[in-house]
Amino acid sequence: MPEDSNLLLSMYKTMVKVRQFESMAGEYFAAGDIPGFIHLSIGQEGSSVGICSALRDDDYVATTHRGHGHMIAKGADLNKMVAELFGKATGYCKGKGGSMHIADFSIGILGANGVVAGGLPIITGAGLSIKYRKTDQVAVVFFGDGASNRGPVHEAMNMCAIWNLPVLFVVENNQWASTTPQTYSCSVGDLCTRAAGYGIPGVAVDGNDVLAVREAALEAVARARAGEGPTFIENKTYRIRGHFEGDPQKYRKEAEVKAWQDEKDPINRYTKLLTQKKLLNKTKIQTIWDEVKAELDAALDFAKSSPFPKPEDALNDLFSNPY
């Protein structure tokens, strides 16, 4: 287990950042300041932060419709993120993408994806490109339990396996795919068991234990950098919010959600651990939450004070070589 306390604390701060970002997004969406629809990852911070804590800036990540946490954990700029959610010209995608289509290629984030499992073929290409360019980068794709049943998952796992590509398949099994329970949609309980069918090491991890996730990621990353090929990691976690903000959620009981909060909550659990380790105490915690809040408020000010794109800008950015 990593003993560098700065690292442990920075992971904590990142988890808080994701949590506060998502809560903020929920509020502003409810208030009508964020157009379209957004999918929040509250309760899944152990997965996003644990995995990305094992990555370098030049490693690649392909994320999903529920990707804010992955973006932030990989080091995305909060100003540009909030601005993009607000549809502002200063956002990551100049307002063209929105929550479901954010990316930051400067830090290897190949993009969120509105198509479930859409990231898997793309990450295979990123892995292949790493192999061609003979670098020691790794490429990580996040996807959900629902996504795991789509065809591209099969093709990508087979291809990454036969070519031994430096890829991490990270399935965030949060028990639900929209209204559909994982127990109904998947023919196996542990999705990681499918890895064996490709000769890929597969591991199930307590996704709400950020350090356990980090451990699994470190191992997989080491294997990938050493040219030993892909790894399949299943982070067992839970989606606390609705599938999208505004989801009526008739498909599950309040009690089920409650059961995953409080002591099962990844941030609460990590807080307790770091407190035992004497790395955190009430005041330190308060400071961190306040620092994050300040950062987020600044990002909100930036977004709010930013202009909307000019309508005609809709015609830009289609081609690199326009005609």
């Binding site: 549809g87 994806n113 949609s185 794109p309 809709a314």
Partner: protein
């Protein structure tokens, strides 16, 4: 037409209820159907009324459409819910190389009664991958029929025809129009045959040829144009394959001018096919080139000012109509 007003969603659910009650072989499959009666509530009441006949699937579009194909070939009449029309891309082989070709390739041995229900269209700030209008791909695919209703009554009458049809039918219904209300006949036997356009407003100066969400743009534009003394005839095509070219021709032989309006992007959209046919079949009746109004040729952007800019507007229709009317 009856004066009872219900929403397009309610019209769909009512029609499905009628048909499913009459024919045991009809079932609906797709993602997330039972919990909320479809993600848009479009199947309200059906999960309760027809337990076991509304089937939740894993996220597996190829196999969802494949289930439709395989069950249609073996005695069922599937209705496939594609969740968002944008995901036809995930099942194009099953739709275009299998469903569309099977009857023909096999020499007419078998029928393939399947409705693929695709909620489509933009305006919800849903961005590039959840906002497309892709009907034109299927117009270019021999072997499938293409239906794009606008008003609630059209939805009811056309979904019934689509279900009773023995061929694969792509049925595109606009997400932004689900809540729109309109008069819908309660009559269980109310049906609109595929291939019948409707003249929804008579006019002598210009023909506005449209379907789906474009109809509402045209209806509103026609009112505005009237104020300027231009009487627009609004023709709702309703089905693109089969296409009711007779009604189109009658209208143009009266107005000598036409503008085609749809939400799909202009280049390669259905307006291209229709304009090509009009100039070919009605050359001598045209006093002006056929105008086309559609979405600008970019993916649908997220931010409201951007999305509003690329989508066709009432103003666009008015401008196009005047351009041909004053020529």
């Amino acid at each position: 037409m009856s004066e009872r007003k219900i929403s397009a969603s309610a019209a769909l659910a009512e029609a499905l209820h009628d048909e499913m009650s009459q024919d045991e072989s009809i079932y609906i499959l797709g993602e997330d159907l039972t919990a909320h009666a479809g993600i848009f509530g479009q199947f309200k009441g059906l999960p309760e009324a027809f337990p076991g006949r509304i089937l939740d699937t894993p996220i597996s579009e190829m196999c969802i459409v494949g289930c439709g194909v395989g069950s249609a070939l073996t005695g069922m009449r599937p209705i496939v819910d594609l969740h968002f029309s944008d995901f036809v891309t995930c099942a194009m082989d099953e739709l275009c190389n299998q469903a569309a070709k099977i009857r023909y390739m096999f020499g007419g041995q078998v029928k393939l009664p399947m409705v693929v229900w695709c909620p489509d269209g933009a305006g919800l700030r849903a961005a590039a991958q959840h906002s497309q209008s892709l009907e034109s791909w299927f117009v270019h695919t021999p072997g499938v029929k293409v239906v794009v209703p606008s008003e609630p009554a059209d939805v009811k009458g056309l979904i019934k025809s689509a279900i009773r049809d023995d061929d694969p039918v792509m049925f595109f219904q606009h997400k932004r129009l689900f809540a729109k209300e309109g008069p819908v006949p309660e009559d269980k036997d109310f049906i609109i045959p595929l291939g019948q356009a409707a003249v929804k407003r008579e006019g002598s100066d210009v023909s506005l040829l449209t379907y789906g969400s474009g109809y509402y743009l045209c209806a509103q534009a026609a009112e505005e144009l009237a104020k300027d003394g231009i009487e627009a005839e609004v023709v709702d095509l309703r089905t693109l394959k089969p296409l009711d070219m007779d009604t189109v021709a009658q209208s143009i032989k009266k107005t000598y001018r036409a503008v085609i309006v749809h939400e799909a992007c202009v280049t390669g959209g259905f307006g291209a096919e229709l304009a090509a046919r009009i100039q070919s079949e009605l050359f001598d009746y045209l006093d002006a080139p056929v105008g086309r109004v559609g979405t600008k040729d970019v993916p649908i952007p997220f931010s409201p000012p951007l999305e509003d800019f690329v989508l066709p507007s009432v103003a666009d229709v008015i401008e196009a109509a005047k351009a041909v009317a004053y020529r």
